[in-house]
């Protein structure tokens, strides 16, 4: 199985390339890029580290698993001594006091952080236009949005500016931009990777995950970042996934795959995506795989349930941003006026919309009618997944109902933006592992399994590269 990480390491070890040359080249590409993916380049620290790697390689030192590999991280991760803005005015001048667990694990394995990547502010968006650094441009067509909220990360990987990037996925923020830019993007099982040091959007669905052009690299990165962490007590123990999974002949015969009828009957689904998806279903059937249509919740209900919960959680999480201990502070006559002025001035319109929506559903009267009911619906959705995974091994679905829209065409239509998350948010509510594979349709397909079944997803994604 092709691994970009391994190929680069071989080149570094053989002396064919130097790490300083590699990192310097990527930094120049990022600086000159018309895609606007970089909020902050980490030039000084990256070059220092690259020179260190070159000295180590020359001295015949034992390289770490990711020694000398330059990577990008969405600008919602903390990396000690570097800016962490969440693409907001609020935190534009904020410097991370410590490093996120997942990022530290990559650094400990030898990887070199190169860039804090442009994203939707606080993860609030599906187009990467909700950012104070200006919109990110799609890797394949600069007139189109890259998807969001990890748009800068997906574009960097697709353009080869980073070897891999670390995105964050709350309701589809890794999977949708991965699909829009035709790369792999994994949202692991909730809790598999520590969220410590990731700015919280909706804590009950926030996930850390890798974006890469190589499936083998997704496996390597997942193994490195996974594990329990005392600083995030929602983390779970998980087994390392061996490289041999890609060597095994995939048991196509007997594999049971489901897809959701409601997604395919969705009137918002682009006919080309529907046609391509159903063509893929046919190919799978011709290869001896049992494919079954499943009944599921309608997309409007999924989106609404997700946004009620996500808005409530983000209203709570972002309540701490008041200019008291960090971030921008605006002075006013009284303390409360100071808070209000600070928050009104420094949050974007979309972030304000979500905070207000969250407070609305958490307030008395609305709480019972909306928030608590959304919790019941979430339990039903989870129950439905549990039942479905008795009947099937995997669920496949389109990533998005539409192909990437033009930049500027949906910014003033929030409902349309929310509905573009229709096929990703359900799996987030269930905490299920889901991979976007750049196969099948113009925006790829999602492959979902039951919790902790990432190996089955990866094996099937590899199998897809052989049959599609």
């Amino acid at each position: 199985m092709e691994s970009e990480i391994r190929n680069i390491q071989q080149d570094l070890q053989s002396g064919r390339i130097t790490c300083a040359g590699l990192v310097g080249g990527k930094l120049r590409e990022l600086e000159d890029s018309p895609h606007n993916t970089a909020n902050f380049l980490l030039t000084e620290t990256a070059m220092e580290k690259a020179e260190e790697v070159d000295r180590k390689m020359k001295a015949g030192g034992e390289p770490g698993l990711l020694e000398g590999i330059p990577f990008g991280l969405k600008d919602v991760y903390l990396l000690q001594g570097s800016p962490a803005s969440a693409s907001s005015d609020f935190l534009k001048g904020y410097i991370s006091p410590y490093t996120a667990t997942a990022i530290q694990k990559l650094i400990d394995a030898g990887a070199i952080p190169l860039v804090k990547e442009n994203c939707d502010s606080f993860g609030h968006g599906s187009s990467n236009e909700n950012t104070v650094f200006g919109p990110v441009r799609n890797a394949l067509d600069r007139e189109l949005v890259p998807g969001g909220s990890s748009g800068g990360s997906a574009v960097n990987v697709a353009r080869g500016y980073t070897v891999f990037s670390i995105g964050a996925d709350t309701g589809g923020s890794i999977r949708q931009p991965a699909g829009y830019n035709r790369v792999y993007g994994l949202k692991p099982t909730y809790g598999r990777i520590s969220r410590y040091g990731l700015m919280a959007y909706a804590s009950s669905t926030d996930c850390v995950g890798p974006i890469s052009r190589s499936l083998e690299d997704i496996r390597i990165l997942l193994n490195i970042m996974s594990g329990k962490d005392g600083r995030d007590q929602t983390t779970i123990a998980s087994a390392s996934i061996p490289w041999e999974i890609f060597k095994e002949k995939f048991p196509a015969n007997g594999l049971r795959i489901g897809y959701y009828r409601s997604f395919l009957e969705d009137e918002n689904l682009d006919p080309r995506i529907r046609e391509d998806f159903m063509a893929l279903v046919d190919i799978l059937g011709q290869n001896g795989i049992r494919v079954k249509a499943l009944d599921f919740f309608d997309t409007e209900l999924l989106v609404s349930t997700y946004y009620v919960i996500a808005m409530a959680e983000t209203a709570s999480n972002l309540a701490r941003l008041d200019g008291t201990g960090y971030g921008e502070r605006m002075e006013a006559g009284t303390l409360k006026e100071g808070y209000a002025l600070t928050r009104s001035t420094n949050f974007t319109e979309e972030t304000k919309r979500r905070i207000v929506g969250g407070n609305q559903v958490l307030s008395r009267g609305h709480s019972e009618e909306i928030y608590q009911k959304a919790g019941i619906l979430r339990d039903q959705i989870t129950g439905s997944f549990n039942r479905e995974f008795r009947e099937v091994d995997l669920i496949i679905s389109p990533v998005s109902p539409v192909t990437p829209p033009k930049i500027g065409s949906t910014m003033d239509q929030p409902l349309e933006m929310y509905l573009s998350d229709a096929y990703t948010v359900g799996f987030s509510l269930g905490g299920l592992p889901t991979l976007t594979s750049p196969a099948g349709t113009e925006t790829g397909i999602q492959i979902t399994a039951h919790k902790n079944q990432e190996p089955t997803i990866l094996k099937f994604a590899k199998y897809l590269t052989e049959i599609v």
């Binding site: 200019g323 009104s344 905490g431 079944q453």
Partner: protein, 110 residues
């Protein structure tokens, strides 16, 4: 000051000047209001232990318990001191400093 039994307006609740509800967001809320949770039918939430007899569901059963923290697994209740660099950066991030002191915002009046 707003008493607990009074309705607090959204702008005050959110500490965002002029904040009001959004038409797009309200449309999502309406969908939830109209939804009828299925407590007994196919979409009812699973009872705990419902699938214990089904070995195929083992991963799901374990997964249900994944995020529960057992008392014996709780993090020790100890103070973890942060390093000098972390302390320095926390001070550096403080919005206002004067004569070596961190300056807070106005005090709470009510």
């Amino acid at each position: 000051m707003y008493a607990m039994d009074k309705i607090m307006p959204l702008d005050l609740l959110s500490s965002i000047k002029g904040a009001g509800s959004s038409g797009a967001v309200n449309e999502l809320f309406e969908v939830i209001k109209r939804a009828v949770p299925d407590k007994k039918g196919d979409n009812a939430p699973e009872e705990k232990g419902e699938h214990e007899a089904d070995p195929q569901m083992a991963p799901a059963k374990d997964a249900d318990m994944d995020h529960a923290v057992f008392v014996e697994s709780l993090r020790e209740d100890t103070i973890v001191r942060c390093g000098d660099m972390e302390k320095e950066l926390i001070k550096k991030n403080f919005p206002k400093q004067k004569n070596g002191f961190l300056v807070v915002q106005k005090v709470m009046e009510d």
